[in-house]
Symmetry: C2
Subunit: 308 residues, 2 copies
């Protein structure tokens, strides 16, 4: 009998699922679209159908349960999604219990950035540590904190809002009410905004700006240097707070590493004596989009009693 | 038989010790001076003598061990103090093992700010929670983070350096190499520096400045308002990262609460949606100088196997 679980990555547009063994071997992976316009029940139906499809293939005997990564805050006790910009249809409903009932198996919801952090810890760049912070530099800037091998949730499940660390006291305004949030200075959106302000043109993506930097465009390089400096300020604060051995970066901005990391390391080096006096590592995550699937799949193994 | 432990608070000038029961009842307390000028052995002798004196009074049978709070970084595995401005004589030596040998009992070293945080969790303002951050606003600005009822150490024992969160990107320079560290904007020293710059006079203590504020001095009130704003920026970052239920403030600046807390709460409210949307509490610690003694005494109970 193979012990396995199913990880689900529920995005605003894509729904992916993978059956993964207790040793981290991916047995199979399926993906489709999230049919939000058809309403909550249709989305839940799709989730359940995908899990069942995989479970039929690998059997119920060794099935430890399903973990589902969701973009939004999750009330962990209640298994309810609250505050999800991408999935407003699912807010407030007993999503976990509903899926558990239909499956007849353990289901665990987790914030997608937390799931990605857990995935990197389990099978990715954080395999050799028990404590790490993952920063996901995408459209927004998400984060997940792993303490002693587990996701740090905080008391209502809102921990890890790394994107809302203040890096510039009177910096760019953020939808959260703050000014100078890391997210407004170091996400893909921030890079695009800075490029626009630098006169690089309208409608450029972070990738376009990276290409310009590659072509030797000084302004594009400056944009990434500024982005790296903001990231460095936040990382120094995280290092001074946590003294963890590892901080991982992932997301769409990662390919520009060579343009943002020099200023990032310069700021961290200046601003954190802990960094200067320890072997703290700041590295690229390695699982990319798969991190969330791994992390979601790992959840039932962490929570389930051992399979007899 | 009473189960008890002994907590020691080893400061640069004072050495205090208390025998405390497993239920948190203080059986007895003694205090003396730290004879640093007589060298390391004399200090270790004093520590051991104080512990033995209390242990002779309450017996070896129920004695769970001793916890010692020390101002400095501690390599937890090795039981060695590294980097202590106040106790350079003790750096690098196997202090824990030495004391253990002389006592014939379990000894645990802990950073003093961490011990204070643990003390507030055990018997103070944090009794009802398992997760909290304590900020000690004194000459410097220390901190301790309690996760799941235990001190967060980080991988070499340097976690909780709350004083070195950046609150002003290009703010006051700090000895740690950073600019705009919280410690340089919200400690007693920072308050005194601001008062001097505001023309309130030379050599004023934080207490003097508080007295001036009480007498209606607008500049003194402004100093505390600025200090509170800096504190609020750091607290918002901590709340966004941890989503803990409780953040405690202690230390010599605390009496000025009414002058710094309005701007502190204003900043936190602006800068943390988590604060706005949860029942997160920011409160005064209640154990004062005793917090470290309680926390140190609690350590053997956390680590020791149950007393048969």
């Amino acid at each position: 009998m193979v012990e396995y679980s199913i990880g689900v990555d529920l995005g605003g547009t894509n729904l992916r699922a993978a059956a993964i063994t207790k040793d981290g071997e991916v047995l199979d992976k399926i993906s489709g679209t999230t049919n939000l316009h058809e309403g909550r029940d249709a989305v839940l139906d799709d989730i359940v159908a995908n899990i069942v499809r995989l479970r039929e293939r690998f059997g119920t005997e060794g099935f430890a349960g399903a973990g589902i990564g969701v973009p939004g805050f999750i009330l962990m006790q209640e298994g309810i999604i609250v505050g999800s910009n991408n999935l407003p249809e699912l807010e407030g409903a007993p999503v976990r219990d509903e899926i558990e009932k239909r499956l007849g198996a353990q289901v665990i919801l987790e914030n997608d950035a937390n799931a990605a952090a857990l995935g990197e810890k389990w099978m990715g760049a954080g395999r050799d540590v028990n404590d790490l912070v993952l920063l996901t530099l995408g459209t927004g800037l998400g984060g997940g904190i792993i303490v002693d091998g587990r996701v740090l949730h905080g008391y209502v499940g809102m921990a890890g809002e790394i994107g809302h660390i203040t890096v510039a006291t009177n910096g760019n305004p953020c939808g959260c009410g703050n000014y100078g949030c890391l997210e407004k200075h170091a996400s893909a959106t921030a890079v695009e905004g800075m490029a626009y302000m630098m006169g690089l043109g309208e409608g450029l993506t972070a990738k376009d700006i990276y290409d310009l930097a590659e072509q030797g465009n000084k302004n594009a390089q400056t944009v990434y240097a500024r982005m790296g400096a903001a990231l460095g300020i936040a990382l120094a604060t995280l290092i001074n707070i946590f003294n963890f051995p590892l901080y991982l970066l992932s997301g769409g901005v990662l390919p520009a590493w060579e343009y943002f990391s020099p200023s990032m390391f310069e700021e961290v080096n200046t601003r954190s004596f802990t960094f200067r006096h320890t072997k703290t590592r700041i590295e690229k995550a390695i699982l990319g989009n798969e991190a969330g699937l791994y992390g979601a799949a790992y959840l039932p193994f962490q929570q389930a009693p051992p399979i007899a």
